[in-house]
């Protein structure tokens, strides 16, 4: 029983570090003041990955029924997608 405890805690710590890293990346992109389609899509992708990480591992949806995972993933996909569409419309 003992080793799974360390392993899962370590796992969550790794997820936390990844999230922190992605946040710093987002922030640095922002600081660099870069704009345009590529940057926007990258930032959106990072955001959706971070959200999915939180949902899957922090919220534990990874182990739940397919229905709940579809709802959560669908939410990130739709919200992220619509935001991307709005920004692409704006670029034209």
């Amino acid at each position: 029983m003992n080793n799974t405890k360390e392993k899962s805690n370590l796992f969550f710590t790794v997820v936390w570090l990844v999230l922190a890293l992605l946040t710093i990346m987002t922030f640095s992109l922002g600081e660099a003041g870069m704009a345009g389609k590529g940057v926007m899509l990258t930032l959106l992708a990072i955001t959706m990955i971070k959200s999915q990480l939180v949902a899957n591992y922090f919220m534990g949806l990874r182990r739940t029924k397919f229905l709940w995972r579809v709802i959560m993933f669908g939410y990130f996909a739709i919200v992220g997608g619509l935001i991307a569409v709005a920004y692409l419309m704006g670029l034209k």
């Binding site: 799974t4 405890k5 392993k7 899962s8 805690n9 796992f11 969550f12 710590t13 997820v15 936390w16 999230l19 922190a20 946040t23 710093i24 987002t26 922030f27 992109l29 922002g30 600081e31 704009a35 940057v39 926007m40 930032l43 959106l44 990072i46 955001t47 971070k50 959200s51 939180v54 949902a55 591992y57 922090f58 919220m59 534990g60 949806l61 990874r62 182990r63 739940t64 029924k65 397919f66 709940w68 709802i71 939410y75 739709i78 919200v79 619509l82 935001i83 569409v85 709005a86 920004y87 419309m89 704006g90």
Partner: protein
């Protein structure tokens, strides 16, 4: 990554289903607000880009790290209570609660700056969305902290056990929602241009 419980059968949602109905409703409200922000921006990009520059991006980023870390603490708290360790759980959750306080503190400083500069929801469309989204989220952080406090109290008195920790998971799920809503809000409002 052989996650310890991946082999378990398909579980139900963590925590009480009642909170999940509330979580989905909040997600819907925030989702519509996010998309409305994006499409309103599409109509007046210069205004949005200009006003966006006046935001304090650093405090936003710090707040993101703060919330992610507090969310991590909550996960550790849940892992602890799964093994029946009430005290350890209450310590992790207290850590998460304090980080929530840090978030609230930073946010209030940010709001103070804006109100001092006489920026309100009626100033322009960007600030309307910025203040609406961040204030709506700010109140969710406060509510999340109230929920965490209730759980901490009960955990400190040994109220949970390895076989009964639904209350902890319920509060945790809400807190994680507050976290990932900010994870979306921060780049959308502060960064993407």
């Amino acid at each position: 990554m052989n996650h310890s419980s991946a082999t378990l059968s398909q579980e139900d949602l963590p925590g009480d289903f009642a909170i999940w109905i509330f979580i989905f409703a909040e997600m819907l409200a925030f989702g519509v607000l996010f998309v409305s922000y994006a499409f309103t921006r599409a109509q007046n990009i210069e205004l949005f880009n200009a006003s966006q520059l006046t935001l304090n991006r650093t405090s936003g980023a710090i707040n993101t790290l703060v919330l992610i870390t507090s969310s991590y603490f909550v996960v550790r708290g849940v892992e602890a209570i799964k093994r029946g360790l009430n005290q350890q759980c209450s310590h992790w959750l207290t850590g998460a609660f304090l980080l929530g306080g840090v978030f609230v503190g930073i946010k209030m400083v940010e709001f103070q700056d804006k109100f001092a500069a006489d920026i309100t929801m009626s100033t322009n469309n960007f600030y309307m969305f910025y203040l609406s989204l961040t204030f709506f989220h700010f109140m969710h952080v406060l509510m999340g902290m109230v929920i965490l406090a209730v759980i901490i109290m009960k955990a400190r008195h040994g109220g949970y056990s390895a076989h009964d920790y639904v209350g902890v998971e319920t509060g945790a799920s809400f807190w994680h929602m507050v976290d990932f809503l900010w994870i979306i809000l921060f780049p959308l409002v502060y960064i993407i241009r």
